[in-house]
């Protein structure tokens, strides 16, 4: 049996719209993953600390307020600084195409925008998370 994928779901910033992230949490759990949801208004610091303590494979972040160009880089850089650079950073929100490209270049693994289905997210994580782990072991 393969190990369960462990995912930390987080909501940084001041935005309280958590309908989406709770749907994702329920769907990932139904798909057999282990899900830890941080709750609202976590600082990048708190999110990265939780990700490392919980030794998750992936960190999923939901941002709907327009603050994504501030928050994703902050989380990404902190993850790397704290030795969590192997963890997949992904996210969802209302993010314009040019920002998706910029964040992708920086190293955010995947960003889902409105209309993405839970099935898509599950399939992507199922593929990407073990691959990231393997790479990590090879290194």
């Amino acid at each position: 049996m393969t190990e369960k994928i462990r995912v930390l779901l987080a909501k940084p910033g001041l935005d309280g719209h958590d309908r989406g992230i709770k749907v994702i949490a329920a769907a990932l759990r139904d798909a057999g993953m282990e899900v830890i949801y941080t709750g609202l208004r976590q600082t990048p610091e708190q999110i990265v600390t939780a990700a490392i303590q919980e030794d998750v494979d992936a960190v999923g972040v939901s941002i709907l307020s327009g603050a994504h160009m501030t928050l994703f880089p902050a989380i990404f850089n902190l993850l790397r600084e704290r030795g969590g650079g192997d963890k997949l950073l992904f996210g969802g929100g209302i993010i314009p195409d040019e920002d998706i490209a910029a964040l992708g270049k920086m190293g955010v693994a995947r960003l889902f925008t409105p209309g993405a289905t839970t099935t898509e997210i599950i399939e992507w994580l199922t593929r990407a998370a073990p691959a990231a782990k393997k790479n990590d072991k090879l290194l």
């Binding site: 709770k22 830890i36 160009m69 314009p96």
Partner: protein, 555 residues
Amino acid sequence: MFDESFLARLKERRKKWEAKKDGYSQASRPRYMTVSGDEVDILYGPESIDGRDYLEKIGFPGEFPYTRGVHYTMYRGKPWTMRQFSGMGTARQTNERYHYLLREGQTGLSVAFDLPTLMGYDSDHERSHGEVGKCGVVVDSLADMEIIFDGIDLGAISTSMTINAPASILLAMYVGVAEKKGIASHKLTGTLQNDILKEYIAQKEWIYPPEPSIRLITDMMAFCADHVPKWNTISISGYHIREAGATAAQELAFTLADGFQYVESALAAGQEVDTFAPRLSFFFNAHQDFFEEIAKYRAARRIWARRMRDKYKAKKEQSWLLRFHTQTAGCSLTAQQPENNLMRTAFEALSGVLGGTQSLHTNSMDETLALPSEKAVLLALRTQQVIMHETGVANTIDPLAGSYFIEHLTDKLESEAEAYFAEIERRGGVLQCIEEGYLQREIAKSAYRYQKEIERKERIIVGVNDYVMKEKIVIPVLRIDETVARDQLVALHKMKQSRDNDKVKRTLADLAACARGDGNTMTAILDCVRVYATEGEIVDTLRPIFGEYQEPPMF
């Protein structure tokens, strides 16, 4: 309502019809259901409303139980207020948008604040980083509010402010602006959202725990009864509950349950029901299921009137009226093929009007992407104007009354709401249910079910899971850049240097003493605001005394 022999004949005919019907083409979908997931019958007839007493259940507009509307003449006497929720960037940018909307025929204002303002942080707080002016207008002090309402006659227009945890502060600022303009506070008309319970349940913009939050609200209700008597002190909101994923019945039930809680809190604080109840107003969502929504508004009026009269013993008819604002459903808009949102919004707005709303916000088609552009805002406003002037639906009151389906749905939603009230009471009341996360879980369950229905294609969303097109989004969206935050920081810094800082310290100390004791916090906050204490300074004064709310864990 109907006599026996008629019902017997009806039953017979229906049976025959059912049999015949089976010979015709059958269901193309596995289930026919409302947006809320409730099964809908293929046909409703007189039997669906049998046993109802028309006068008791439906009656006349302007009369108990107000199923048909709260006013005698409804839109002939009082057309609904076209109130577009708006605010972005700096106070000056927002002021310009307001002048634009008023020029184009909008009849009321509705202020959208940015997240730091909603959460009680000044622009220079570290948690405000990246969020200043993004989701609404930035307000740090009275100085910003003076600019927002520059050139607008506060004695003539009504203003709604979507602000909750720091509502007292923003109302104080509005009163402060009026004072500077020489307008007496008793002339001011408008609405504060000020509904902290739905923040814990759905929108999640809280600061303090429930108990001190409710004290702030009841203090304000007492203050307004004396000084701002035409102000709607709370807009008890189902909107956000629905946006978070609730069904129509949950929106109806949880919102009214919150309303009952405010009534009970004010009564417990020693206020007379008829002094504050006439100033309570409501705010509902207009989602996509046309008939279900219309029935929801009708049921809401009936339930509220009954409770206010029979349970809380309100004597004034004004206390029985459920007056409400409606906003079309943001969660029904799609980022894909965004022009389709124009149609969605129009149908939703129509249900609000047919449901008897007192004021209406129509969403702009580009709002899933960013704050709306000027063109999109104008089309949204024009949608309301077309409904009002061209469709004829406002000519006669509650035109769908008597429809077998509408009356059946109205009764059904009412009984579903009653079942929730009983369950909430069994669990120890609204506050206990919030503490346990019961209401939040019920909503999350509905949201997950809805998402699964879309993914299984049991529910078709045009452009999302069917009729999909390869597209590049071309609608120009309004972007708030970081210069807004920079400009605001400069303005805030300058303001702090030019005000009388001794006075600020003194009024803040008085506020702290008031909060520790049992004085009226609203009066003390107004004193702070007048000398340009910032929102953040006021919240920082109260937070250590009142504490900070922690959400119960969901998973």
